[in-house]
C-alpha cells in the first residue's frame, strides 16, 4: 500500500513535471512564433511597396540642345545667387544651371557624370558651388527625404556612389544597413510616410481646405529664420558635419576625386566656388570655427594640384549682410548684383 502510494506520488510528480515541461515548451513556441512573425511580416507584406525611383535624364537632351559654354552645379546656394539671364547678358555666353535645393556632393557628382558627361557636351568650365566641408561629408543629404532625388539622378548601378557612401564597404554597420534596406524595403518609404502624416495634420487644421497656400505660407512665416532666438541662430550657423582638419582625397571618402578623374578623362575643366555664408559679425565678416581654415587650405591645395580651379568668396567684402534673405541664401532682389560681382571677379576665366 505504502509502496503504491509512493509510486502514485511519483507518478503525479512526473505528470506535473511533464505538464510543466509541456507548458514551458508551448510558451517557448509562442514566443518564437511571435518573434518570427514580428520580424518577417513587415518584410513579406511590403516587399514591392517601395522601389528605386527611375532615372531622370531629362537634362541630357536639354544640355545637348543648348551646348552651354558654362555649366553650374549646386544647391539652393547656387539657385539663390546666380541669375542666368544676367550672366548670359554680361558675358555673352550660354549658361546651364543644375541647381537642386537640398542637394549635396553625392547629388552633384551624379549630375556631373550622368548629365553633363553623358550628354557629351564640352562646356568651357563646370562650376561647382559648395559650402565649408561639404566635399568631406559625402553622406550629407543622401538619406530620408533626399533619397528620392538622389535615386532620380542615379543609374541602376553606381559603383562610385556605393563606394563613397559605404554601401559596398566591408564595415559591419554598412553591411547591416544595406541588408536591412533589402530585407525591409518599407524603410525606404520613411520620408514619404512622414510627409503623408504631416499632410494629414495639415488637412485637419481648421481653414486649411479653404486657404491652402495661405496656411502653408503662415506656417513658413512663423518659423522664418528671422524669428529665431539669437542663441539658436548662432548654433544653426555653426559648421555642421565631420570636423575634419584636412581634406582627405581618398576616393572612398569624397566624391571630389571621382569628379576630378572623370573631368580629366573627358577634358572638362572644373572650378570649385566656395560661397560666402551669412555674415555673422556686424562688419559683414563671416566668423567660422578656427579649424575650418586649415581644412579649406588643404582642399584648395589639392584641387589646384589636380588642375581644378578654386575660388573662395568667404572674405569678399562686396557681399554684405544686406544682400542676404534667410540663412545663407541671397535675396531675390540681390541676385543680379551678386551675378554682376561674380562675373567681375571671375573675369578672364569666363572669356
Amino acid at each position: 500500500m505504502g509502496g503504491e502510494a509512493k509510486a502514485g506520488g511519483l507518478d503525479t510528480k512526473l505528470d506535473n513535471r511533464s505538464a510543466t515541461d509541456g507548458a514551458r515548451g508551448s510558451a517557448r513556441a509562442r514566443l518564437i512564433l511571435l518573434v518570427l512573425v514580428v520580424l518577417l511580416a513587415p518584410a513579406a507584406l511590403f516587399r514591392s511597396a517601395f522601389s528605386k525611383t527611375p532615372f531622370d535624364g531629362s537634362n541630357v537632351p536639354k544640355l545637348r540642345a543648348e551646348a552651354p559654354d558654362f555649366v553650374f552645379i549646386g544647391d539652393s546656394m547656387l539657385e539663390s545667387r546666380l541669375d542666368e539671364a544676367v550672366f548670359e547678358r554680361l558675358t555673352g555666353r550660354r549658361a546651364f544651371v543644375i541647381a537642386e535645393n537640398g542637394s549635396a556632393s553625392a547629388r552633384w557628382w551624379l549630375a556631373f557624370k550622368n548629365q553633363v558627361v553623358a550628354a557629351g557636351v564640352r562646356p568651357q568650365r563646370v562650376f561647382l558651388f559648395f559650402r565649408d566641408r561639404q566635399w568631406s561629408w559625402p553622406e550629407y543629404r543622401t538619406g530620408s527625404q533626399y533619397r528620392e532625388s538622389l535615386e532620380a539622378a542615379a543609374q541602376a548601378t553606381e559603383p562610385e556612389l556605393d563606394q563613397v557612401l559605404g554601401r559596398s564597404r566591408s564595415g559591419v554597420r554598412a553591411r547591416v544597413d544595406a541588408a536591412l534596406d533589402r530585407v525591409y524595403p518599407i524603410r525606404l518609404g520613411q520620408a514619404e510616410a512622414l510627409e503623408r502624416l504631416d499632410e494629414r495634420a495639415l488637412h485637419w487644421t481648421p481653414g486649411f481646405r479653404q486657404a491652402k497656400s495661405q496656411t502653408r505660407k503662415a506656417i513658413e512665416a512663423s518659423f522664418d529664420i528671422k524669428r529665431l532666438r539669437k542663441d539658436v541662430g548662432t548654433e544653426m550657423a555653426t559648421d555642421d558635419g565631420p570636423q575634419s582638419r584636412a581634406f582627405d582625397p581618398d576616393p572612398a571618402e569624397s566624391f571630389l576625386p571621382h569628379l576630378a578623374d572623370v573631368a580629366r578623362q573627358h577634358n572638362l575643366q572644373l572650378c570649385l566656388v566656395r560661397v560666402k555664408r551669412r555674415p555673422n559679425r556686424p562688419d559683414n565678416v563671416r566668423y567660422d570655427r578656427a579649424d575650418l581654415e586649415p581644412y579649406v587650405t588643404s582642399l584648395r591645395e589639392w584641387t589646384l594640384a589636380q588642375g581644378i580651379g578654386f575660388h573662395d568668396f568667404t572674405r569678399d567684402p562686396v557681399i554684405t549682410l544686406s544682400m542676404y534673405a534667410d540663412g545663407d541664401h541671397i535675396a531675390a532682389e540681390a541676385r543680379a548684383e551678386w551675378t554682376r560681382h561674380f562675373v567681375e571677379v571671375m573675369g578672364t576665366s569666363l572669356r
Binding site: R24, A27, R28, R30, L31, L33, L34, V35, V37, V38, L39, A41, P42, L45, F46, G143, S144, Q145, R173, V176, Y184, I186, R187, G189, Q190, A191, A193, L194, L197, D198, R200, A201, L202, W204, T205, P206, G207, F208, Q214, T215, A218, I219, A221, S222, F223, R227, L228, R229, K230, V232
Partner: protein
C-alpha cells in the same frame, strides 16, 4: 552605450545568449562585466565615480551592521561622500555661478569660479539607489550584503543604470542573490515591452521633438504656437522617458529580473498627488521614503507639512538639474500639492469625486502639467517670463491656424500613447483576465501589436534621433 543603437542590439543579443548558459554565480559576475562595459563604452572614466560610490557604500553598510553604535556617523560619511561626488559633478558650476553673481551684485569683484566639468551620465540615478540601500541598512530594513560582487551588480545593473528605475535594495538585491529562471510567457511580454519602448522613442518622442524644438527656438512665438510646442514637449518627455523605462524593464525581464514600474498613465492624473503617483514613480517614492517621511511627513502640524512638501518638491526639482527652472518646476508641484490638499479639506468628497467633475478636473490638471513642462523646458528665466506673459488675445488668426496645425501633427503621431492611456482607464486586471479566458485571441492581438510597432519603427522613425532626455540628469 545607448539603447537605440546598433551597438546595444549586438551587445544585448550576445549578453543574452551567453548569460543563460552560465550558472547563477557566474551569471552575476558576467553581468557586472557586461554592465561596466556598457557604462564605460564611450568614456571609461565614467566607471571611476561608479566604482567609488559602490565600494564606499558596500563598506559603510557592512560597518553599520558590525558597529551599530557608530551607525549614524557612518551613514553621514556615506551621504557626504555620495552627495559630495554628485554635488561636484552636477551642482558645482551652478552654485559657483550664482555665488559670483551674488557677490558682483554687492559690488565685489570675483574671478570666474566655474570649471569645465563633464557630467557622468546616470550619476543621479545610481547615487540615489546607493543612498537608499545605506539608509535601509541604517534603519534595519535591509541586511548589509556580504558578497561584494552582489553589491557591484546592484549598483551597476546595466538595464537601469543610466536612467532608472531607481531600484530599492529590498526589491533588487534578493533577485541578485537568488537563482533566476527564464519565464517564457514573461519573455513574450518583455519582447513586446521593448518594442513598445523603441516605438515610443524612435517614432513618437523623436518626431514630436522636432516640433517642440522648432517652437522653443522662436524668439517670440504667438500664444497658440507656444502652447502647441509645450504640448509637443509634454508628449516628447513622456514618450522618451517611459520608453527608456520600458526598454530597461523588458531587457531586465529577459535576464530574469523584475524592475519596478515607473509610469502609470501619468496624463490621466486629476490632481498633482495623483500625477506623482503615476510619473517617475521610483523617484517620487524615493523622495517620499527618504526625505518627506523623515522630515515628519503629513503627521506634523499644518505649517510643518507645508514646509515638508515644498522642501521635498524643491529637492526633487533640483535633482533634475542644476538650473533655476528645475527648482521652479519642483516648487510649482509643491505649491500645487499644498493648494489641492487645502482644497480637499474644504470641498466635500462627494463633490470633488463626483463623476461629473472628472473631466473638468482632468482638464485642469493637464493644463497645470503643461505649465509645469514649460517651466521644465525653458532654462532662461527672461524668456520664461516672456512666455508666461504672452497675451492670447494678441494672437492673429494665422497664429491660431499654425498652432492648430502643430497640435494636430503632435496628436496624430502620438495617437498610440493616448490610446494606451485610455486603456489605463480600465481596471488593472482586465488584460490578465482576457489572457486567461481567451488565450488565442489575446495572443493574436499581441502578435498584431508587435507587427504594427515594428512596422511603425521601420517606416515612421524620425529623421532626427536624439539622446534620451533623462540622460542629462
Amino acid at each position: 552605450m545607448i539603447f537605440h543603437s546598433f551597438d546595444f542590439l549586438v551587445f544585448f543579443a550576445l549578453v543574452l545568449v551567453l548569460y543563460w548558459r552560465l550558472p547563477h554565480r557566474s551569471q552575476n559576475l558576467f553581468l557586472i562585466g557586461s554592465s561596466w562595459f556598457f557604462y564605460g563604452y564611450v568614456h571609461w572614466w565614467f566607471l571611476a565615480p561608479l566604482a567609488f560610490t559602490a565600494g564606499m557604500d558596500y563598506l559603510v553598510a557592512r560597518g553599520i551592521e558590525r558597529w551599530p553604535k557608530h551607525k549614524t556617523p557612518l551613514l553621514c560619511l556615506s551621504l557626504c561622500a555620495s552627495l559630495g561626488l554628485l554635488g561636484f559633478f552636477k551642482y558645482y558650476n551652478f552654485f559657483a555661478d550664482n555665488f559670483s553673481v551674488a557677490f558682483r551684485s554687492l559690488g565685489l569683484e570675483v574671478s570666474d569660479l566655474t570649471l569645465q566639468i563633464f557630467l557622468p551620465v546616470g550619476i543621479s540615478f545610481y547615487t540615489f539607489q546607493s543612498i537608499g540601500y545605506v539608509v535601509d541598512v541604517h534603519r534595519g530594513k535591509a541586511r548589509a550584503v556580504r558578497s561584494f560582487s552582489d553589491y557591484l551588480l546592484y549598483s551597476a545593473f546595466f538595464p537601469q543604470l543610466v536612467a532608472g528605475p531607481i531600484e530599492r535594495s529590498t526589491h533588487l538585491l534578493p533577485q541578485i542573490q537568488q537563482a533566476r529562471h527564464l519565464d517564457w510567457d514573461g519573455a513574450r511580454g518583455a519582447v513586446l515591452l521593448i518594442l513598445w519602448g523603441f516605438f515610443k522613442k524612435l517614432v513618437i518622442a523623436d518626431n514630436v521633438a522636432v516640433t517642440a524644438n522648432r517652437v522653443f527656438a522662436l524668439e517670440q512665438p504667438a500664444f497658440p504656437v507656444l502652447w502647441a510646442g509645450v504640448f509637443a514637449f509634454a508628449v516628447q518627455i513622456f514618450a522618451d522617458f517611459s520608453a527608456y523605462t520600458d526598454i530597461a524593464r523588458g531587457s531586465a525581464r529577459l535576464l530574469g529580473f523584475d524592475l519596478m514600474e515607473n509610469f502609470r498613465h501619468p496624463y490621466l492624473a486629476r490632481s498633482p498627488q495623483e500625477f506623482w503617483q503615476r510619473w517617475h514613480i521610483s523617484l517620487s517614492t524615493w523622495f517620499r521614503d527618504y526625505v518627506y517621511i523623515p522630515l515628519g511627513g503629513s503627521r506634523a502640524g499644518p505649517g510643518r507639512v507645508v514646509f515638508n512638501l515644498l522642501f521635498t518638491f524643491l529637492l526633487s526639482g533640483l535633482w533634475h538639474g542644476a538650473s533655476w527652472n528645475y527648482v521652479l518646476w519642483g516648487l510649482w508641484y509643491g505649491v500645487l500639492v499644498v493648494i489641492y490638499r487645502a482644497a480637499s479639506a474644504v470641498v466635500p468628497k462627494r463633490v470633488s469625486e463626483s463623476r461629473w467633475l472628472a473631466f473638468p478636473r482632468w482638464l485642469l490638471m493637464f493644463t497645470l502639467i503643461l505649465i509645469g513642462w514649460l517651466l521644465f523646458r525653458e532654462t532662461q528665466t527672461a524668456q520664461l517670463v516672456r512666455y508666461l506673459t504672452l497675451d492670447p488675445f494678441a494672437a492673429k488668426g494665422s497664429d491660431w491656424t499654425v498652432g492648430g496645425y502643430l497640435f494636430n501633427s503632435v496628436l496624430l503621431i502620438s495617437l498610440p500613447i493616448w490610446i494606451h492611456h485610455l486603456a489605463g482607464c480600465l481596471p488593472a486586471a482586465t488584460w490578465p483576465r482576457i489572457e486567461t479566458a481567451r488565450p488565442l485571441p489575446a495572443y493574436v492581438a499581441q502578435v498584431i501589436a508587435g507587427v504594427a510597432m515594428f512596422t511603425g519603427i521601420l517606416v515612421l522613425r524620425s529623421r532626427v534621433t536624439s539622446d534620451f532626455i533623462y540622460f542629462q540628469f
